[in-house]
């Protein structure tokens, strides 16, 4: 295994990089790109915690304008809407429904899930649905018959790969 380990900077099997429409960021954007800005803004929260809470928010904003080093204030502003944006945009699958499905799915009736894990799972399922639609759309565009409806056959074609990726 040593020979392999060297070049494989990432662990595990063949990392699958699903095809993305590179030129037109129109449709797939919704699934994955939405979170790209979030990625960039990821580190700042720690900074924002350090911002003195005593300073009123308006003062903070003014300071941020003049002082380049006070950019954390800026980051915080960016970050806050981001989080809400990241929150499943509008709960693709309602939380209550998912929770029910989840508990029906457990074989062991005493199994539980904690809140954070559940939210993460909801995110996982939402991503799954979005990805399915985005891929269907993408394939449709690639084959050219964009005027047509998304058909079951389209889903059948992409399902194996999709399931392997999730």
């Amino acid at each position: 295994m040593p020979p392999k380990a060297t070049n494989a900077s990432q662990r595990k099997g063949p990392a699958f990089k699903p095809p993305r429409p590179i030129r037109s960021n129109s449709q797939t954007t919704n699934t994955t790109t939405k979170r790209v800005p979030a990625k960039n803004a990821a580190p700042p929260p720690r900074n924002s915690i350090n911002i003195p809470t005593l300073i009123s928010s308006s003062d903070d904003d003014v300071g941020a304008d003049d002082d380049p080093s006070a950019s954390e204030g800026d980051e915080e502003m960016e970050d806050a809407p981001d989080v809400s944006n990241l929150q499943p945009p509008k709960e693709l699958v309602p939380k209550k429904l998912l929770s029910r499905l989840l508990y029906e799915g457990f074989e062991d009736q005493s199994m539980k899930i904690n809140q954070g894990a559940f939210d993460l799972f909801a995110m996982y399922i939402d991503t799954f649905v979005r990805e399915a639609i985005a891929r269907a759309h993408y394939d449709k565009e690639k084959t050219g018959d964009d005027d047509g409806f998304l058909q079951v056959e389209d889903l059948e074609k992409l399902a194996p790969k999709l399931v392997l990726d999730f």
Partner: protein, 130 residues
């Protein structure tokens, strides 16, 4: 699934749950169609529902077994992260989300074990600032 398709009572429950799922997914697909100038047949939505249903069922069993393997009776975020082990982009996505979530909560996420089980999850919005 614990629900048994051959049991008439369970079959009806399954039917209802699937309908609910169908509805939510249909809503989303319609919305996407409007936004992206797309069209989807109802059959497509139905098939997608079936796919998502199966994915949820499988994930449930996975999560349960992951937690059991770790000797727990509670599914934690780590178990969910394991679901994404096969796809790196997906894992990154979830990790980002998890970090956001924890940062937002002042990181009680791991300790937030719910003692009362089922109803706990239904709260949904319970993770505002504490």
């Amino acid at each position: 699934m614990v629900l048994n398709e051959s049991d008439p009572v369970d079959a009806e429950t399954i039917e209802r749950l699937k309908s609910a799922l169908w509805y939510s997914i249909g809503q989303y697909v319609d919305e996407q169609c409007l936004q992206q100038n797309l069209n989807a047949t109802p059959q497509f939505i139905g098939a997608l529902t079936e796919l998502v249903w199966t994915q949820i069922s499988n994930s449930c069993l996975d999560l349960e077994n992951f937690a059991k393997h770790a000797g727990r009776k509670v599914v934690k975020t780590d178990d969910v992260m394991l679901l994404a082990r096969r796809s790196e982009p997906l894992e990154n996505l979830l990790r980002d989300y998890l970090q956001k979530m924890q940062a937002k909560e002042g990181r009680p996420a791991e300790g937030a074990k719910k003692g009362k089980g089922r109803p706990a999850v239904a709260k949904g919005k319970g993770k505002t600032k504490q």
